[in-house]
C-alpha cells in the first residue's frame, strides 16, 4: 500500500503534501495536509460497511443495537434506513445465538458482518467463532468456507472495569483458520474492513472504542469505493534507523508520540503498524529489525502469551545475529483491569513506558 502511494507521489499524481504525509507521523501531518480530507474512524467504518453492502447483496449486518439505535457506537448509522430490516438485524442479547446463526448463514453462502458490542462479549460466542467458523474450512477439506466478519471494539476503554476491558488479539490470533485485523487510522479502518468483508474466510476485526472519534487525514484513493488494503501486510508509519517499535491499534498513536520524544533525544525510531495480527507480517518486522538491530514491541493486552511474545520469538528465531540488544516487550499490567482511573492508567502502557523501553534498547549495547 505504501509502495503504491510512494509511486504515485513520485509520478506527481498526488500533491507534495501527500508525500510528506506518508513519511511523517499521521497525527502531526494534519497541519501539513491543507487540501486533504479528514475522516473519523467511525465514519470510515460506516462508509466501508455501506459500500460493501451496496456492492454485494449477500452482505448483511447483525448485532445488538445495530439497527434502530443506529449502532451502540454509531458505526452502523443510517444502514437500517438505507437497506431495510431484511439486511440489518437487531438481535436479542444472545451472542451465542446470533453468532451461531451468522456462522450458519456463512456456511450457506451469505456474508454476515456480526457486531459484538465489545469483544468481551464474544467470549459468550467463542465456541462458534473458533469451532464452527475457524476450523470448518480445514475440517471439511476445503468444501466449506465461512465468509464471515466478527467486528467490534476490543481492549480497554475508560473506566469500564475488568469485565469490559480485555484485549483479545492474542487469543484469536493463535487460532489457525482465523484472520485477525487491527486497524489504527481511518484509512486502515476502511481498507481493512472492506478487505475483511470481501475475504472468503472468517475474519476477527478488532476496533478500538477510544479511536472511533479520532480524525485522521485520508487520501482520495482511500475514499474510492474499490479501495482495499491487503491482509497480512504491516505499514511502516514512521521510518527510523535506531530502534524498531512494533505495535497495533491504539498503541500506534502512543508509539508515534514516543518516537517524537525519542527524536528530541537523538534516537530515530521506526514505528510499524501491524494492521494484521494474523497473518503476522514477519517479513516487514524482521527486515526492519535487521536495519535497526533493536526491537520494542507494545500492546495493551496481558503480557503472558501476548502478541508481543510472538513477535519477539519470531525476531529471535529469524534475526538473532542482527540484534544488538535484548528484545523489549511493553504490555498491559498482569492484572484484571482495575476500575479506579489512576489504577487504570497504571495498568496500561503509556508513552513514557515506550520511551523508556526504547532508550533501554539503545543503551544496552554501550
Amino acid at each position: 500500500m505504501l509502495g503504491i502511494l510512494r509511486q504515485r507521489a513520485i509520478d506527481g499524481g498526488l500533491a507534495a503534501s501527500t508525500l510528506r504525509r506518508t513519511r511523517s507521523a499521521l497525527v502531526s501531518a494534519r497541519s501539513y495536509a491543507a487540501g486533504a480530507k479528514e475522516m473519523t474512524v467511525r465514519d470510515a467504518l460506516n462508509s466501508a460497511i455501506d459500500e460493501e453492502m451496496s456492492a454485494d447483496p449477500k452482505v448483511f449486518v447483525m448485532g445488538e443495537e445495530v439497527g434502530q439505535y443506529q449502532g451502540a457506537y454509531k458505526i452502523t448509522k443510517g444502514l437500517l434506513e438505507k437497506y431495510g430490516p431484511e439486511r440489518v438485524y437487531d438481535t436479542p442479547i444472545t451472542e451465542a445465538g446470533f453468532t451461531g446463526i451468522g456462522v450458519g448463514a456463512a456456511y450457506a453462502g451469505l456474508k454476515p458482518v456480526v457486531e459484538f458490542m465489545t469483544f468481551n462479549f464474544s467470549m459468550q460466542a467463542i465456541d462458534h467463532i473458533i469451532n464452527s467458523a475457524a476450523k470448518s474450512n480445514y475440517m471439511s477439506a476445503g468444501q466449506i468456507n465461512v465468509p464471515i466478519v466478527f467486528r467490534g471494539p476490543n481492549g480497554a476503554a475508560a473506566g469500564v472495569g475488568a469485565q469490559h476491558s480485555q484485549c483479545y488479539a492474542a487469543w484469536y490470533a493463535s487460532v489457525p483458520g482465523l484472520k485477525v485485523l487491527a486497524p489504527y487510522s481511518a484509512e486502515d479502518a476502511r481498507g481493512l474492513l472492506k478487505a475483511a468483508i470481501r475475504d472468503p474466510d472468517p475474519v476477527v476485526f478488532l476496533e478500538n472504542e477510544l479511536l472511533y472519534g479520532e480524525s485522521f487525514p485520508i487520501s482520495e484513493e482511500a475514499l474510492d469505493s474499490s479501495f482495499c488494503l491487503p491482509i497480512g501486510k504491516a505499514k511502516i508509519e514512521r521510518e527510523g534507523k535506531d530502534v524498531t517499535i512494533v505495535t497495533f491499534s491504539k498503541m500506534v498513536g502512543f508509539a508515534l508520540k514516543a518516537a517524537e520524544k525519542l527524536a528530541e533525544e537523538g534516537i530515530s525510531a521506526e514505528v510499524i503498524n501491524l494492521r494484521s495480527i494474523r497473518p503476522l507480517d514477519r517479513a516487514t518486522i524482521n527486515a526492519s529489525v535487521r536495519k535497526t538491530s533493536r526491537l520494542v514491541t507494545v500492546e495493551e493486552g496481558f503480557p503472558q502469551h501476548g502478541v508481543c511474545a510472538e513477535i519477539c520469538a519470531s525476531v529471535v528465531e529469524e534475526s538473532f545475529s542482527y540484534l544488538d540488544a535484548p528484545v523489549e516487550r511493553i504490555a498491559g499490567a498482569d492484572v484484571p483491569m482495575p476500575y479506579a482511573a489512576n489504577l487504570e492508567r497504571l495498568a496500561l502502557p503509556q508513552v513514557e513506558d515506550i520511551v523508556r523501553a526504547a532508550k533501554r534498547a539503545c543503551y544496552r549495547s554501550k
Binding site: I93, F121, G159, V160, Q163, P336, Y339, A340
Partner: protein, 221 residues
Amino acid sequence: MATAFAPTKLTATLPLHGSQENRLVLPIRLAPHSSFLGSTRSLTAHSSRRLNHAHATRRSPPVVGVQEVVKEKKSINSLLITKEEGLVLYEDMILGRSFEDMCAQMYYRGKMFGFVHLYNGQEAVSTGFIKLLTKSDSVVSTYRDHVHALSKGVSARAVMSELFGKVTGCCRGQGGSMHMFSKEHNMLGGFAFIGEGIPVATGAAFSSKYRRDVLKQDCNM
C-alpha cells in the same frame, strides 16, 4: 412465601368492626428477634390459632397494623408487616432512591466514570426480597447492583466510595459500579454480562445444600 399465605383467605374470616375501622388487623405477629423475617413457619403455625382466637373473642385485634392513617380504605388489607418493619423497609427504599439520585448527579458532573446503571424505580424489588434474608444468605446481582448491595447491608459510604474509585470503597476501587462484592455481607457480586450471575447463584445455592447434606454442617444460624 406468597403461596403459603393468601391475604384474602384470612380477611374473609375476620371482618372489621366499625369501631376498629381505623386500625387494620394483622393476624400474625412475627418473631420479635428478627428484623422482618417473613418466614412461612410463623405464618402457618400461628395464623390459624390467632384467627380462631380473634374470631371468638373480638375483644381487641392482636396486632396493630401499618395503615393507621388510611381511614377511607374500604378493602380489608391484612398486611404482613408491623409499623416498625414498615419503617425499616421504607428507609431502605428511600436510601436506595436517594443514593441513585446522587449517583446520577455525580455522573453528570463528571465525578463518576465508566458505566453507571441506576436502580431508580425498582427499590421495592430490592427491599422486598433482600430484606427477607439474613446476613448469612447470599445475594448475586447484575450490573445494576448498587441498591442490592445497600439492601444487603453494605454501607452506603463503602458503595459510594467504590463508585468514585477510592481505596475506601468496598472493593478498593478495583471493581467499580458493576462489581460490588462484600464477603462480610455475602454479596457475591454484580456481574457485567447479562445472565452471568444466574449460574453463579445456582452454584451458591448448591453449596448450601451440599453443606447441609454432604458436609453435615448446621446451616441454621
